[in-house]
């Protein structure tokens, strides 16, 4: 067996003031399915990264900002597994 891998989760969401047409469509569909107390839905990305060895946190922030998210329209958060 390989040494246990370390996981890092990155959540990338559309910024609050940016239109999220996908979220709107899902919200409407949920209402149609009878979940009438749903107020709003936002849809983002969930990335599960597996590392042999955890990277330098600053480096990780850098790739989240430059590659994994688009800072013009998205925010990201790094979550421990």
């Amino acid at each position: 067996m390989v040494g246990a891998l370390m996981k890092v989760h990155v959540v990338v969401m559309p910024k609050q003031n940016v239109l999220d047409p996908q979220g709107v469509a899902v919200r409407n569909a949920l209402k149609d399915l009878g979940l009438d107390t749903v107020e709003s839905v936002r849809v983002g990305k969930f990335l599960e990264l597996e590392f042999e060895e955890l990277p330098d946190p600053a480096k990780l922030e850098e790739v989240c900002r430059d590659l994994l998210s688009n800072p013009v329209i998205e925010d990201y958060t790094i979550r421990p597994d």
């Binding site: 047409p21 996908q22 469509a25 899902v26 569909a29 149609d32 849809v43």
Partner: protein, 234 residues
């Protein structure tokens, strides 16, 4: 004989399908709005391509819950011929009428081009006049058309001849190079066990006029005439 062309919000091949049916193979065809719940008076249904509900979340995921889709599911179970083209195929998979799912193209990019297809079975209402592994030419245009099914389902599809079309080269060889999107087993179209429901990613609705570079789409729609003969004469 009258064919229904379903219009979902975001369908964009509805007009092409209607034209292919009326001008291409001279059937009677009418639109059916997604909020309708009846298919009374229709002999077959086409779910056209497009981006139903924007294809937000997943292709076909929201259309599955549309009122008309529930009716289509019921009618299909009663044996009505149903074909889903492109987005229509995705909807049929989401609705559970067809096995498997269509996932993002392996290239991660939308692909629009002309492809060759080998007809794998004449035993569906949409291939009834296409015996003997005919090779057809028609366009594809999709971003999420890679056919996926787990091993057991694939085995079942193969053993029960439920694979209707495969991507091939011009000479009918199902090579990896001829696979435009990463579909398993080069699958371009499948049918259900009862064989009355067919889904395909390529567009017969864009290949029914010589000027469009192929008329092979007429063979697909035209097969319905043969398939429905017994129904009509009854």
């Amino acid at each position: 004989m009258k064919i229904a062309v379903v219009q979902f919000p975001g369908s964009n091949c509805d007009q092409d399908c209607l034209r292919a049916l009326t001008d291409g193979v001279h059937f009677q065809a009418e639109y059916v709005w997604h909020k309708q719940t009846s298919l009374y008076g229709f002999d077959a249904v086409v779910l056209p391509g497009g981006f139903s509900y924007g294809d937000y979340l997943r292709c076909g995921a929201i259309a599955r819950f549309s009122p008309i889709t529930r009716t289509v599911v019921r009618s299909a179970k009663e044996g009505m011929p149903v074909i889903g083209i492109c987005n229509g195929f995705q909807i049929l998979c989401e609705a559970g009428l067809l096995p498997g799912a269509l996932i993002r193209n392996q290239s991660l990019r939308f692909v629009c081009k002309s492809v060759w297809l080998r007809v794998e079975t004449g035993e569906t209402p949409f291939t009834a006049q296409l015996k003997g592994q005919r090779i057809l030419k028609m366009p594809i245009a999709h971003g999420e058309g890679a056919y996926f099914a787990d091993k057991a389902s694939l085995d079942a599809l193969e053993s029960q001849s439920q694979i209707v079309f495969r991507y091939t080269d011009e000479w009918g060889n199902a090579t990896p190079e001829a696979n435009p999107n990463g579909s398993m087993h080069n699958i371009a179209g499948v049918c259900n066990e009862a064989r009355n429901v067919v889904g395909m990613m390529p567009h017969p609705d864009r290949a029914w006029d010589r000027q469009l570079g192929s008329e092979d789409g007429k063979l697909v729609f035209g097969s319905l005439a043969k398939a429905l003969e017994p129904v009509i004469s009854r």
